[in-house]
């Protein structure tokens, strides 16, 4: 990646932001008196603050970068990660689930599971959550440090330690409140930092209708940009639902059923309704109605976020198609050392007039990336026609490498931001990395202190002791994150690995909560073994299936089938494989939990379950509130707006 130079004004903006977050930590220090203040913000935050923190906690930098990547790769359909994959689940959380989380006085999601079921379920959930949180936090810090190294030429170790130290200082001082406040700050930074890029991109391309026309041309011949190997109908990049009629009609390779059930139901509800990282924000609200309004307030801006994070990816594709001012999609960097092998191979191939496909297969292992046969073929022809300098050859081979979608957002920032604005956008990115780490660390803090330390290691100590443990865990959590970052640096594919395991654990989770909250007959045995069975089903499903074009292996799947000599069940894309994995794990967990619950005796009486199960809890009275403050009314309204968005971009 080409390095950029920051002007003094960019540094001023970066330093100012860092100064402010540290300052907030110090300003909040005097309010941290008990462990509940530190780990739960004393349940005193207004709804609009928790609401914005609720989106920000999820809108980490990996999400910003990843969604722009999806926008380029899949186009308009990526919006379903928001419209289908977030809004309904957030409203469900607000209307139906929040009364139990908040009303039960549980301090964390695992603690709710303990109240509803038993210690085993809590233990299973809290340990898997703690491990995942630390790994996620470590990986995102690794990405940040690596990004700063590539982009600005800063030292990896210094970036990692300095950013971690900043997070440490403000979380150590202000606890969860610090994390929530900086998340709100980050929300505004992201919105105000990226908006100019969208404006300039749209203006440059001549407006949305022009972008749409260009993307329709792209869909008919995506090979030119190395986006896909087959042609699609014209609406593949610009329609949200219309390309879903057939699996072959869209670059995601999914149909509407897999998408709706897998993403819209299982994965979305599993994430938004059970993940403590986001639910913790709502639990910190100052009262029940604020807690219930949190996801609603979050849902309103959330449904317009595709403009900010997905549109840049789509603009990049349109821009690359018109090749305006020589813009092209970023490609995966090839090691300088690898060229020593690649250059002679390509020259040799040109001399012997080899087939481009063969050449690609030959040079891919050395480069560690795939190549576009079309571009290599053009290059071979050119070399055969006349001598090309090594320097030019290197550049051409680099350009023929597969697209590096994760760099799309940065390439847009670089293209449109003058010094000053660039500092603002980079600070927004840095802010979301740091607040992502802070979010993970505070969630880990609460889980460790309340659900593991207080529950199993040292029960019945004074509150001062737990306050001290909470502070100490902040330090430990950040050190573990740093360790995880170094692991991620060492093993490149650990990121895929973690996402994989995250999927295994996350997919069945919602079945447990759904049955636990809405069916009083669900027992602890049912929940525990159902969850375990669901997770194992994911692993098994993954071992037996494979996305087309992938080689069987531990990361991509299909290794079990490969081992036993059978051919794995093929899916058209990794996305389709993921969605069906989720469907399968959810169904198994649901059936197993329900079956085992019926077969085992109830361990909790109706009385014990009051406030934890829907049918045994008095209904929330929100008729005293103004109508627009009632979660159900506001929820239905937001769903309608979301529906209209879907229809507009059908």
């Amino acid at each position: 990646m080409q390095q950029i130079h920051l002007a003094w004004v960019d540094y001023v903006i970066l330093l100012a932001y860092t100064g402010f977050v540290v300052g907030i930590g110090f300003a909040l220090k005097r309010y941290m008196k008990t462990s509940a203040d530190f780990l739960m913000s004393g349940r005193s935050i207004p709804a609009w603050v928790t609401g914005l923190a609720f989106i920000s906690a999820n809108l980490g930098a990996l999400e910003v970068i990843g969604m722009a990547a999806n926008g380029a790769k899949y186009g308009m359909m990526s919006c379903h990660f928001y419209w289908l994959g977030a809004i309904p689940a957030m409203i469900f959380l607000a209307v139906f689930m929040m009364p139990f989380y908040y009303g039960s006085k549980a301090r964390s999601v695992p603690e709710y599971l303990k109240m509803r079921f038993d210690e085993r379920v809590r233990c299973l959930n809290s340990i898997s959550f703690a491990v995942m949180t630390m790994l996620t936090s470590g990986i995102s810090m690794h990405v940040l440090a690596d990004l700063l190294r590539q982009l600005l030429g800063w030292d990896y170790n210094i970036c990692l330690w300095v950013c971690s130290a900043v997070v440490l200082v403000y979380v150590f001082k202000g606890g969860l409140t610090s994390a929530i406040y900086t998340e709100v700050l980050q929300f505004f930074m992201i919105v105000l930092g990226f908006a100019p890029v969208i404006y300039l991109g749209l203006k440059d391309l001549g407006g949305w209708s022009h972008v749409k026309d260009t993307l329709e041309q792209v869909a008919r011949a995506p090979q030119g940009l190395n986006l896909a190997t087959t042609n699609f109908p014209a609406n593949a990049w610009t329609g949200a639902w219309s390309p879903l009629r057939t699996v072959a009609g869209n670059p995601m390779g999914v149909d509407w059923f897999g998408l709706t059930f897998g993403l819209g139901f299982v994965l979305a509800f599993g994430y938004w309704c059970t993940n403590f990282l986001v639910v913790q924000r709502a639990m910190a609200a100052r009262n029940m109605s604020a807690a219930r309004r949190t996801p609603i307030i979050a849902a309103a801006p959330k449904m317009f976020f595709p403009i900010l994070v997905i549109l840049p990816g789509m603009l990049a594709v349109a821009l690359a198609f018109t090749a305006k001012d020589g813009y092209h999609l970023p490609t995966k960097p090839i090691d300088t050392a690898a060229f020593a092998q690649i250059l002679p191979a390509v020259k040799n191939a040109a001399a012997q007039a080899s087939d481009a496909e063969t050449v690609c297969r030959q040079i891919s292992p050395a480069a560690g990336v795939k190549f576009s046969p079309e571009r290599i073929a053009a290059l071979l022809k050119e070399i055969a026609a006349g001598p090309v300098s090594d320097e030019a050859l290197r550049q051409r081979i680099q350009d023929a490498a597969e697209n590096d979608y994760n760099n799309v957002m940065l390439s847009m920032l670089k293209r449109y931001c003058p010094a000053g604005l660039l500092g603002l956008a980079l600070t927004a990115l840095l802010a979301s990395f740091m607040s992502g780490m802070a979010g993970n660390v505070t969630a880990f803090n609460t889980i460790w202190t309340y659900d593991l330390y207080q529950a199993y290691l040292a029960p019945n100590r004074g509150d001062d002791h737990y306050m001290w443990v909470g502070r100490a865990t902040t330090v430990v959590g950040i050190l573990i994150s740093i360790a995880c970052a170094y692991i991620a640096k060492q093993y490149g594919n650990i990121m895929d690995m973690v996402q994989l395991v995250f999927g295994f654990v996350n997919a069945p989770l919602f079945a447990t909560f759904l049955l636990g909250m809405f069916w009083r007959r669900t027992t602890g045995h049912g929940a525990f073994f159902g969850l375990l069975g669901g997770t194992l089903t994911s692993a098994l499903f993954h071992g037996l299936t494979l996305a087309r074009g992938n080689t069987p292996g531990f990361i991509k799947g299909g290794w079990l089938a490969h081992l036993s000599g059978a051919s794995p069940t093929l899916f058209p894309s990794e996305m389709a494989q993921n969605f069906w994995l989720a469907c399968c794990a959810f169904s198994v967990c649901f059936l197993l939990t329900a079956g085992l619950s019926l077969a085992t005796r109830r361990t909790k009486t109706d009385q014990e379950l009051t406030g934890l199960v829907y049918s045994l809890t008095p209904k929330q009275k929100d008729s005293e509130q103004a109508w627009y403050l009632r979660p159900a009314v506001a929820g239905v309204f937001l769903l309608l707006v979301c529906l209209v968005l879907n229809l507009i971009f059908w």
Binding site: Y31, S44, N287, K414, C417, L421
Partner: protein
């Protein structure tokens, strides 16, 4: 919680707004700087937007403080 978040947000964005606006004025004559942003002096314009946003937040924080001082606050725990 005791600290009104609108205050730090307001101060920060006012500061960023002033910085960007001033930088925009300083570099207004440099066509080279604004080649990426299609010749528009985005620092100046966007700096003013940030300044406006920061000012609104500060006004809201100020009003919140007045409201807090006048009521005894049955809802506030602290």
């Amino acid at each position: 919680m005791g600290l009104d978040i609108r205050l730090p947000i307001g101060i920060m964005f006012t500061f960023l707004g002033v910085t960007l606006t001033l930088y925009g004025l300083l570099t207004a004559s440099s066509a080279e700087t604004y080649r990426p942003s299609l010749g528009i002096n985005m620092n100046l314009w966007w700096g003013l937007v940030l300044l406006g946003f920061g000012a609104v937040m500060l006004v809201l924080a100020g009003r919140g403080r007045k409201a807090d001082a006048s009521k005894t606050g049955p809802e506030d725990k602290k």
